[in-house]
């Protein structure tokens, strides 16, 4: 594969003629690709202005001691100049190994990792199970599908409040448990049960997305593959293992990655379920928000530093994930 064709333009690329000089290459590149650059220009501008600029500004803030008391602000008619100063990497050092760093960062970090792993695992396996069930010829499967996507159809901020009513001290869940003579945990007060209910609610919210995507993946698997494998005497498990799972590989690697990113960054569920009442059940994102906006004085610098750290964690994770995927694919090809 040394020569590939640019499918939109019918031009060859990647051929091995001697490299022309830099100026010539730039000119050639411009002539060859100007429409591509014209087409990506809008997004490039939007990303530059709305994402990269704030990101750079945020990065700068993390190197200062900005909070709501020393930032530029307007009180009535008086405009107060910003008085925060440059402190270098102190914020990061303080977060990662300052005094009480365990309580402020590492405990939340561990909980965030557990939260992400458990939630995505549950999403994926429940979603896959339901998708497999829905993929068979079954009476009323459209009806089931319509009901099963309901948690996705109703906005999260609505359903979380529904859950809050149910999980309240004497809400329906505890009443039911009491009626069955089972212990009634304090879902919204006790740290362990707070975490438990957060995972439960998030699982409930997240399964439909996985289910629908995996169902789409299942339906795109060529039926003749199943026929062929059956001709070769494969049983149901073997068909699942050697036809279904490989067929789902591309869909599932994408949705798992998306699921991990979304769950890691999940804000609404925990924020709306507990508000400010549960410091131990906060994952890093909601904790950073609390630092920046949920307390007085607002600690902008630390909050932004948490944000940058979170982003760094995700980027490192994603590069490893993609490398791992690539390696797996190469192994399959060999």
């Amino acid at each position: 594969m040394t020569v590939a064709i640019d499918r939109a333009t019918g031009k060859r690329r990647g051929d091995r003629s001697p490299r022309p000089g830099l100026g010539r290459r730039l000119k050639d590149g411009y002539q060859k690709h100007w429409y591509a650059y014209a087409m990506i220009a809008p997004v490039a501008v939007v990303i530059g202005v709305l994402v990269l600029y704030p990101l750079g500004y945020g990065l700068y803030l993390t190197l200062t001691d900005a909070n709501s008391l020393n930032s530029a602000r307007t009180i009535g008619v008086n405009e107060i100049e910003a008085t925060y100063k440059f402190v270098g990497l102190d914020n990061y050092a303080d977060i990662l190994w300052g005094p009480t760093a365990y309580d402020r960062f590492w405990s939340h970090f561990i909980w965030t990792v557990v939260w992400t792993a458990v939630c995505v695992g549950l999403h994926f396996f429940i979603g896959l199970g339901l998708a497999l069930l829905l993929n068979q010829k079954l009476r009323g499967r459209t009806f089931y599908r319509l009901i099963l996507v309901l948690p996705w159809a109703v906005p999260t901020f609505v359903t979380v409040f529904g859950w809050r009513f149910m999980l309240a001290d004497q809400g329906i869940i505890n009443s039911a448990l009491d009626w069955l003579h089972l212990p009634t945990p304090a879902w919204l007060e006790d740290t362990f049960w707070q975490r438990f209910s957060a995972i439960m609610v998030n699982t409930w919210c997240g399964v439909p997305f996985m289910m629908v995507s995996l169902l789409g993946g299942l339906q795109s698997i060529d039926n003749s593959l199943y026929e062929a494998s059956e001709m070769d005497g494969a049983n149901a498990w073997q068909r699942f293992r050697y036809v279904t799972l490989p067929g789902l590989r591309s869909v599932s690697s994408t949705v798992v990655l998306l699921g991990i990113i979304w769950t890691f960054n999940q804000f609404a569920v925990i924020f709306l379920l507990f508000g400010n009442t549960a410091p131990d059940a906060q994952i890093l994102v909601t904790w950073a928000y609390q630092l920046g906006f949920g307390q007085q004085p607002r600690d902008f610098a630390q909050s932004a530093a948490y944000g940058i750290l979170l982003l760094a964690i995700l980027i490192v994770f994603t590069s490893f994930y993609r490398r791992w995927l690539n390696r797996n694919e190469q192994q399959l090809a060999n």
Partner: protein
């Protein structure tokens, strides 16, 4: 316009169903009665779990007193629509509706319009910097709100855009645009290259191919991208809670929270508002969900 390539329902199933001779041997796709019952059982259970919290919210919204959620049995005898009447007449419901619609629709339109050409470019063309752009698009997917919320807050307050619809739309575009581009790239990938090549052979420019051939074929994909941006913008909590200050400009996500702090936990009203919000959004969701599934998975040349 190559309408002959428009997707049609795969006829394989119907043919298989009509031509298969009656037979005693159980074929693939047919299961024993027990397996079928088990499937129905699991699906019914899952449906109940999916349905119950929403149904419960609807039921609670009919109870007139704010502590009725603790005594659900009592609601049955005194069911009333008073909560709904109160919410519609005496709260800022319609203001919230207006803000939510302005912000979500603004985000949707800008997101899809801006992202469409880029999705096509990264799907079809290999230009220097292609990999970097894809990487940037992916990385912006995973921006935690914590990264942007502080600098955005500072920048918007400098520009006097706090408590302003346009400011919130801009903030949402920072996630909607890269996401739409990424999603549309995936959809364009499923439209066969032969269609582009046919267009090129017939003398269209790359732009012409895009606007006259690919865009019409990509309508389901565009719908999905638009729908995604709408739903994300509609349901976003963190930015809206922080940037919208006056209670007439709250979006629903913020307005709902205000029932608990401001009005001394009027849970009955909150439930009624939640139901009123959920009904149109879910209806919209079900309208587009067919497109959603095709958009996420299907291609342009099946059938």
């Amino acid at each position: 316009m190559s309408t002959s390539t428009a997707p049609t329902k795969a006829p394989a199933e119907q043919i298989a169903a009509s031509t298969a001779p009656p037979r005693k041997v159980r074929g693939r796709g047919e299961r024993s009665r027990a397996a079928s019952l088990a499937s129905h059982g699991v699906l019914t259970l899952a449906s109940l779990v999916a349905l119950f919290p929403v149904a419960w919210l609807v039921y609670l919204s009919l109870g007139p007193d704010k502590n009725d959620y603790l005594h659900p049995g009592r609601i049955w005898s005194k069911m009333t629509f008073d909560n709904y009447a109160f919410v519609l007449q005496d709260t800022n419901f319609f203001d919230w509706l207006k803000s939510s619609l302005i912000v979500s629709l603004g985000t949707t339109v800008i997101g899809v319009l801006v992202a469409a050409t880029t999705g096509y470019a990264v799907s079809r063309m290999r230009f220097p910097g292609y990999k970097k752009l894809m990487w940037v698009l992916l990385v912006t997917q995973m921006f935690p709100i914590a990264v942007l919320i502080v600098p955005m807050y500072q920048i918007l307050s400098k520009l006097q855009l706090i408590d302003n619809y346009f400011g919130l739309i801009l903030v949402y575009c920072s996630t909607a645009v890269p996401y739409c581009a990424w999603l549309l790239k995936g959809y364009f990938d499923t439209i066969p290259f032969e269609i582009d090549e046919a267009g090129r052979v017939d003398g269209l420019t790359p732009f012409g191919t895009f606007f006259r051939l690919i865009l019409p074929l990509a309508r389901p994909g565009l719908a999905v991208a638009g729908f995604y941006s709408f739903i994300t913008a509609f349901g976003e909590v963190a930015f809206a809670s922080t940037f919208m200050l006056s209670d007439t400009k709250y979006t629903f996500a913020v307005g709902l929270q205000s029932f608990i702090s401001e009005h001394d936990a009027q849970r009955n009203l909150m439930a009624a508002t939640a139901v009123l919000v959920a009904i149109p959004v879910s209806a919209f969701f079900y309208l587009v969900q067919k497109n959603l599934v095709t958009g996420l998975t299907a291609g342009g040349t099946k059938g």
